[in-house]
């Protein structure tokens, strides 16, 4: 039993030593990446050689490619800290021989019967689209949500996805630190109510938010200003005073809704559009505006 323990210990020690002995070349660096070596953090620079004891720290959106022992290439594409001694496995290379690869190739060719021809099997060959692609990101966020001023109420931040996805990562950043989100949530719908994270925010401060298909990155950041009640009330009073004296309550609510929407107070605008439609339910304009607003911003 002692012998077995000794063998396990030896294997562990040699394994750790081997992982430490790996050398990593910083092949390419994109975004905010730093190297932590001997408890000192320095910016990562292309062409630098790192030992197995170093760690890499990646900010959101950063990508770094390493070459281990001049033989194996691998990439980190997600934010976080990566101690390189844990990536000894990535240094391993496939040692399949030429002969075995050749046998596999010949066998694959001999057993492959193809998919027919474009004339006989049209669908199998209709994979080339004669057009250019002009979008990289799979997530589209309405430009009207570029800046949202919010003081309270139920209102969602929404988006569209061009790729099929089951879940989306919603990320919220402080305006002074966009490298690390302070709030992260995985949602299955194409929207998230602002009330889900209002407790995390401080009135009077600005935040950035973004969303991406789980496992993907999205560099597009949107602004969310969490406005205090006092600031909003002042604005509302100012907008109210701008109205004419013979304005009915429904007309005033509609006007306020329109002006608040224009000022990016979308949640508040929604409340006033709703109020206008309720006060004068026969008015087609109020109703259709409310319906369009709800549709545009994915309000339930």
């Amino acid at each position: 039993m002692k012998k077995l323990q000794f063998v396990i210990l030896l294997v562990t020690v040699f394994g750790t030593m081997a992982a430490q002995n790996n050398s990593f070349l910083l092949y390419s660096v994109k975004g905010n990446v730093s190297v932590i070596e001997n408890k000192t953090e320095t910016p990562a620079k292309i062409g630098k050689i790192l030992s197995g004891s170093a760690s890499l720290k990646l900010a959101n959106g950063a990508i770094v490619t390493l070459i281990c022992n001049e033989a194996a290439m691998f990439t980190f594409g997600k934010s976080g800290t990566y101690p390189l001694n844990k990536f000894g496995d990535s240094c391993r290379v496939n040692t399949s021989s030429m002969g075995s690869n050749y046998v596999k190739y010949v066998w694959a060719q001999m057993t492959s019967h193809g998919e027919g021809s474009p004339g006989s099997n049209r669908k199998a060959f209709m994979n080339t689209v004669g057009a250019v692609s002009r979008s990289i990101n799979n997530i589209w966020i309405d430009p009207r949500l570029d800046t949202v001023n919010y003081s309270g109420g139920e209102f969602p931040l929404s988006w569209k996805s061009y790729a099929e996805a089951k879940t989306f990562d919603f990320l919220l950043y402080n305006s002074d630190n966009i490298s690390e989100p302070f709030y992260k949530n995985v949602v299955s719908k194409l929207k998230i109510p602002i009330t889900d994270f209002t407790k995390k925010m401080v009135p009077g401060k600005s935040y950035y938010w973004t969303t991406a298909i789980t496992g993907e990155e999205n560099d597009e950041l949107k602004v969310l200003n969490y406005v205090s009640k006092e600031t909003f009330d002042k604005l509302l009073a100012k907008l109210k005073s701008a109205g004419v004296s013979f304005e009915s309550p429904a007309e005033q609510a509609y006007r306020l809704g329109f002006m608040l929407e224009d000022a990016h107070y979308l949640s508040e605008a929604y409340q006033f559009y709703t109020k206008a439609a309720l006060l004068d339910s026969t008015n087609v304009l109020y109703r259709s505006t409310l319906m369009s607003f709800k549709k545009d911003y994915e309000v339930k």
Partner: protein, 444 residues
């Protein structure tokens, strides 16, 4: 009651030996027959006749002929067997990342931008710098002036030059219907900064204009002086011993031993270099190659066809930037990994011996088991093609010996048709002159 044999392996061993002996007999029974030797000779006579007799080009519409015009069996090693990939070290250490060479992408920088990139590169102390770009005529005066100044002060910079062969130029002009040029000598094309360069090396590669680049010429004599190619000049500055070894080979048509795609060289973007994102040690004592590099397969600017193309035959797109081809040549020279060509007479002898052996095998089936002849012959042809293609690739990738097995495969393919011809011929001379032949009793 039945008795269990004492050793069950015995009959199995006997069976193997029996079958091996049988197979051996099929190959050798007719090996020394006159007919086998003459039939083999007829295969070579036929091949020679096709080559020598000036037949009209009947292949101009042949898609197979056109498709395989630029084909080499060894290309399969790169496209399908993993040679040159990160995942295949067993093919030799040469496929490792080459830390001696650094590629710097000049992108679409203008002359001033290139000047800054050269200057910054030089400040990081590489042993030698190569610039794979040429400059035709003047542009903005102040930008030209900045670049000229950098060229003058960077003494370890080798800039690419271009040889214009008179023969090629004449042919080109004739094809275009223009009058032939007065300048009938081989010459270098003029570059606007010629007078400012310290060193130049010609960047011409050998191969069809739109064909796979497999060869390069290390040096050429023009106007009684020797000029070295771009890669050779860079090696001369970096490792004089390696350069001397190249010179001693006296080979004007070296085969390029491609070992690396672009990701096996450090690639630095010009912008990253200028904004200080590159480590100070990244270029020190190395070969820095400045050129246009891009990994976008749809961008084919300065891209060439190489044996490393993922498609080894048929329509494809160029796969490698010119500078990566030069980098492969440099790696080869530094590692002394030259490919040695076997003389063509070796290929002929190999083809004769193997063709003779297969002819004997085919004659055996033709005469003694004719019902199986075609089936066996087709299988034998397929097996031979697989075996000899592998053998050629193995010698190429493992021992860097290039053997042309095409003739051997052609001989095996033609052997079957020639047997039919030879049978008729042998029976005819048997009837006419009493020639003794194994075919006269069994005609098909």
């Amino acid at each position: 009651m039945t008795h269990q044999p004492e050793n069950v392996q015995k009959p199995l061993k006997k069976g193997f030996r029996h079958h091996a002996r049988k197979l051996h007999g099929r190959f050798t029974k007719y090996l020394l027959e006159r007919d086998t030797i003459f039939a083999t000779a007829w295969v070579f006579i036929f091949i020679l006749a096709v080559k020598v007799i000036p037949l009209p080009n009947i292949h101009f519409f042949d898609p197979i002929e056109i498709g395989l015009e630029d084909f080499d069996f060894n290309d399969i090693a790169y496209s399908n067997l993993g040679k040159g990939n990160y995942a295949n070290l067993k093919l030799g250490d040469t496929t490792k990342f080459d830390h001696r060479i650094v590629l710097i992408n000049i992108g679409h920088a203008d002359r001033e931008g290139i000047a800054y990139i050269i200057d910054k590169t030089a400040s990081m102390n590489p042993k030698v710098i190569g610039l794979d770009a040429y400059f035709e005529g003047p542009r903005e005066p102040h930008k030209d002036s900045v670049l000229q100044d950098v060229f003058r002060k960077t003494k370890n910079l080798v800039v690419v030059s271009r040889i214009k062969w008179a023969e090629h130029e004449k042919k080109h002009k004739e094809e275009k219907g223009k009058e032939t040029v007065e300048e009938d000598k081989d010459h270098f094309l003029k570059d606007y900064f010629d007078s400012s360069y310290s060193q130049t090396g010609f960047g011409n590669l050998t191969g069809e204009t739109i064909g796979t680049k497999r060869h390069f010429s290390p040096y050429e004599k023009i106007d009684d002086s020797t000029h070295y190619c771009f890669a050779a000049m860079l090696v001369k500055n970096y490792d004089i011993k390696a350069f001397n070894r190249l010179e001693k080979r006296h080979d004007h048509n070296e085969i390029i031993n491609y070992s690396r795609r672009v990701n096996k060289y450090q690639l630095i973007e010009g912008d990253d270099l200028l904004n200080g994102s590159v480590d100070e040690s990244a270029l020190r004592g190395k070969i820095a190659l400045l050129a246009y590099v891009n990994n976008n397969p749809d961008d084919i600017e300065d891209k060439l066809f190489t044996p490393m193309n993922s498609k080894f035959a048929g329509k494809s797109i160029p796969d490698m930037n010119g500078i990566v081809v030069h980098a492969n040549i440099i790696s080869m020279i530094l590692d002394h990994n030259y490919i040695n060509k076997l003389p063509s007479w070796v290929s002929v002898i190999v083809a004769i011996l193997i063709g003779w052996l297969f002819m004997s095998y085919f004659v055996h089936y033709y005469l003694e088991s004719h019902i199986w002849f075609h089936l066996v012959a087709k299988f034998a042809q397929l097996a031979a093609a697989i075996l000899f293609v592998w053998l050629g690739m193995h010698l190429f990738t493992r021992y860097r010996i290039k053997v042309d097995m095409t003739l051997t495969i052609v001989v095996i393919v033609l052997a079957i048709d020639i047997i039919y011809f030879y049978e008729a011929f042998a029976v005819w001379i048997h009837k006419r002159f009493g020639y003794k032949t194994v075919f006269h009793q069994k005609q098909h």
